[in-house]
């Protein structure tokens, strides 16, 4: 069965870039959300195998989403990748401290995303 991955990112271009890069290497059903609020709404609807979130979003920031996921017994087992940009080491540190499993710094190469995703997805598909 395919993996299910949640992407929270407000840039549509970035979203589809992330999705297509992942789809190139993994059999994954990707749920895209444009805001943190939308992400909060979809989380209880599906079992996700991976969450990828941007930090700068308009409603709740990515750190708040990380905290929400990682301190909630329902979701804390889901691996989570934060996407930050150059020069935001503060966000990277905080994200990891809040329980994020990995971070990627924009601009990253497609292979970097693919490797991180492959490392974090459960070994066996459900």
């Amino acid at each position: 069965m395919a993996y299910r991955i949640l992407i929270a990112e407000d840039s549509p271009t970035m979203r589809s870039l992330l999705a297509s890069t992942i789809e190139d290497v993994a059999d994954a059903e990707i749920v895209e959300t444009g805001t943190g609020f939308e992400a909060l709404k979809v989380l209880p609807r599906h079992r996700f195998d991976l969450i990828i979130t941007d930090i700068n979003m308009p409603d709740i920031n990515g750190l708040e989403l990380v905290h929400f996921v990682k301190s909630n017994p329902e979701y804390q087992r889901i691996p989570l990748i934060i996407i930050t940009t150059e020069g935001s080491s503060r966000d990277q540190e905080r994200g990891l401290k809040l329980g994020a499993d990995a971070y990627l710094v924009k601009p990253f190469r497609p292979e970097a995303l693919q490797q991180t995703v492959a490392r974090l997805l459960p070994r066996e598909a459900r």
Binding site: L40, V42, F68, N72, P73
Partner: protein
């Protein structure tokens, strides 16, 4: 470079369209920032000055652009947006003060970004980017951003829970600090919402809190409050008393408490023992696979709604305008096919062969026609965009040009949500820009002159749009000095366009002269208006959109330019006519009526052919003369009808009516407007080409310019004769 991500065509298009949107939004936000700064400068009562949220939005815009261009490997764009982002970061974090110079720098950066993105759009790469300009600009940015930062964190010192601080972005933390420094109280409002609809409830809560102070952040409570519900803490700063806050939130189930004194924020995981109330769901175990998606009992319905609302939130599709054009062409071709089928049905009926069949075919064709009309309307709707896409650019133009001209000008926009075909909106930008340039350069006086004249010191340009029937009217009105017709006349005489003893100009004649290529009343070429594009270019551009351009002016009080445009372009209803062996289409929207006249009805007044139409005299135009057509052998006007009768199509409006003499009226039909191509561009009297459906392409008459021509001709003759 080989290690760069190489974007394909589709991602590149997405990148371009999102970048353009980001840049447009940045432009709007910068204008708002400029206005905030000015209000602050003017010390207006109640003016909040610079809104931190707005500044943060601008920062986020530059940040997104940097992230995107980085992913696509556009180094120049990344460099500029990155450095802009740095400056904006310093601004939003209070390390650099916002003033007019910094704002200019931001606007300049935005201009540069706009040009870079357009460059990428045209060439698909950054080749040809002006690296020197980018470097010089970045140096200026860094100089502005490089001032020392102010005091350090104080929110932590003030005793804010570290668990809250841990999830704040740097900006949110800074806002918390700022508010602590300003002596405001920090509070949180905790509320629980239905998971499916929390954003509405939260918006209401946040909206009310914003009236009391500043909302710093919104934290989702991590532990499940109850199945199907979610808890939020809205952190905000205010100088109001706690009791006032409770009153402000009356009717909402929100609990307000001071942030600093409180032991801990809501529902944090580490506080889990405090919330044992909610029935615990079984921990995810081996059987979880089969239970998916297993919403808790009672939450099923709410979750269902969550799903549907999520769908609606992500259902917007961005579409390349070229794809819509292609769709539109197909719809147009279908409409033409329908016309052909209708013709066959009619032929069948006339041949009298199978009356039931031809009747059924005619009925089916009518039904097809209705559905096609609906399809056509829907596709057109998709192409409609608000005029704000063009108007927002004008706000920047006014700001820049008025500054360059040393004048103070406010732009007042109304009706920006009026919708027009995307293509028309795009094509409007340049003409509008030029009209506004003219208003600033020629119309609005300097501040000193205005004060002396007893006018408000600040000039004003009103940009309005509204719908009028099937048309959209756009007005650009300034409160400047108006157009001096005597001056226009003397310049025209000096350039040999008018005889020295010509009578004083009527408004229409003056306007026509202003629209003569190369005409200017300026002695010197200025940075602003003297770029070789004159009113003639504006008028041509408007007529190519099948629109009309008019002018009203009052000496000393100002000038109003009025643009009337069709709402959509691609398919129009036309009257198809034939003359001199050629076929033409006349947009039906511009036809008043059709007459059949006898040759004896035509009189010649001042060497012009006219007829008497009820109370007025209608000038006539003969296409064979205007287009210098070579008539087929033996052709006579009227197509050789025995009685010599002629058809006259009355076009235009009121004073500006014209009778076009034709041989035959071939009927009304929908025609698909095609691009005229370079060859015909600028040919007076032709608006474009159209397909008739029987593989015949005909020219569409430009009624506006034909009437102009006829009137100009009349004016010229009067002087000579």
């Amino acid at each position: 470079m080989s290690d760069e991500p190489t974007p394909g065509a589709e991602p590149l298009r997405e990148f371009l369209s999102e970048s353009e949107e980001l840049i447009e939004k940045l432009g709007r936000d910068l204008i708002a920032l400029d206005q905030g700064l000015r209000r602050e400068g003017a010390g207006e009562a109640g003016a909040g000055g610079v809104d931190p949220e707005l500044l943060n939005d601008i920062f986020r815009g530059a940040h997104s652009l940097k992230g995107l261009s980085g992913m696509f490997g556009f180094k120049g764009l990344t460099t500029v947006s990155h450095n802009l982002e740095n400056l904006l970061d310093a601004l939003r974090l209070g390390r650099v003060a916002l003033d007019a110079q910094v704002l200019d720098l931001l606007f300049a950066g935005l201009d540069l970004l706009g040009r870079q993105v357009r460059g990428v759009g045209e060439g698909g790469s950054e080749e040809g980017a002006d690296l020197a300009e980018i470097e010089a600009f970045v140096a200026r940015l860094n100089e502005a951003a490089g001032r020392p930062r102010t005091a350090a964190t104080s929110a932590a010192a003030a005793g804010v829970d570290p668990a809250i601080l841990a999830v704040l972005t740097e900006f949110e933390e800074h806002r918390l600090d700022e508010n602590v420094r300003a002596g405001r109280g920090l509070y949180r409002a905790r509320a629980s919402f239905d998971l499916a609809t929390f954003d509405q409830g939260l918006a209401e809560l946040t909206g009310r809190l914003k009236k009391q102070g500043e909302v710093v952040t919104t934290l989702p409570g991590a532990a499940a409050a109850a199945p199907g519900r979610i808890e939020f803490d809205v952190v905000f700063a205010t100088d109001r008393a706690e009791a006032d806050l409770r009153a402000a939130l009356a009717g909402l189930e929100a609990e307000v408490s001071p942030l600093v004194a409180a032991p801990s924020p809501a529902g944090r995981a580490e506080e889990a023992p405090q919330v044992p109330v909610a029935p615990q769901r079984p921990a995810p175990g081996p059987d979880a696979d089969r239970a998916e998606p297993r919403p808790a009992a009672g939450a099923a319905q709410a979750a269902e709604e969550a799903e549907s609302s999520l769908r609606s939130a992500t259902q917007t599709v961005r579409v390349d305008i070229a794809k819509l054009d292609a769709l539109m062409t197909i719809v147009g071709e279908l409409v033409l096919d329908k016309t052909v089928i209708g013709g066959i049905a009619e032929e069948m009926r006339q041949a009298g062969g199978a009356p039931t069949l031809s009747g059924a075919l005619a009925k089916a064709t009518r039904s097809l026609g209705k559905k096609l009309a609906e399809l056509q309307e829907r596709v057109m709707e998709v192409r409609m965009v608000p005029l704000s896409q063009a108007f927002d650019k004008m706000a920047r133009t006014v700001r820049k040009l008025s500054r360059d001209a040393g004048k103070e000008v406010d732009l007042v926009i109304s009706g920006a949500d009026t919708k027009l075909d995307k293509l028309i909106v795009e094509e409007l930008v340049d003409p509008l820009m030029h009209i506004i340039r003219n208003a600033i350069d020629h119309g609005i006086e300097t501040t000193d002159e205005r004060v002396e004249l007893g006018k408000p010191a600040r000039g004003r340009i009103a940009l309005r749009a509204f719908q009028k029937g099937n048309h959209v009217v756009i007005e650009v009105e300034d409160d400047g000095q108006g157009i001096d017709f005597d001056r226009v006349r003397s310049v025209a005489v000096a350039r040999g366009l008018l005889e020295p003893d010509a009578p004083p100009l009527k408004p229409r004649e003056a306007f026509d002269l202003l629209c003569t290529p190369g005409f200017t009343t300026r002695d010197t070429v200025t940075e602003i208006s003297g770029r070789g594009v004159g009113m003639d270019a504006v008028r041509t551009a408007i007529s190519q959109l099948s629109g009309a351009l008019d002018l009203e002016t009052t000496r000393g009080a100002g000038t109003k330019m009025i643009i009337t445009l069709p709402m959509t372009l691609a398919i129009i209803q036309a009257l198809v006519v034939a003359t001199c062996g050629r076929t033409y289409a006349i947009p039906l929207s511009q036809v008043q009526e059709n007459l059949m006249i006898a040759p004896g009805d035509i009189r010649t007044v001042e060497r012009r052919e006219v007829i008497q139409l009820r109370e007025r005299t209608l000038p006539l135009a003969r296409l064979e003369r205007i287009f210098r057509l070579r008539p087929p052998d033996g052709w006579r006007p009227g197509g050789g009808r025995a009685d010599g009768s002629l058809y006259v199509v009355v076009v235009g409006m009121g004073e500006r009516s014209l009778g076009i003499v034709v041989d035959e009226l071939l009927g009304q039909q929908d025609v698909v407007i095609k691009s005229v191509g370079e060859l015909l561009r600028g040919v007076r009297g032709i608006a474009g080409a159209a397909d008739l459906g029987n593989q015949q392409t005909v020219l569409v008459l430009d009624v506006g310019s034909l009437t102009d021509e006829a009137i100009a001709l009349a004016a010229g003759r009067r002087e000579v004769g």
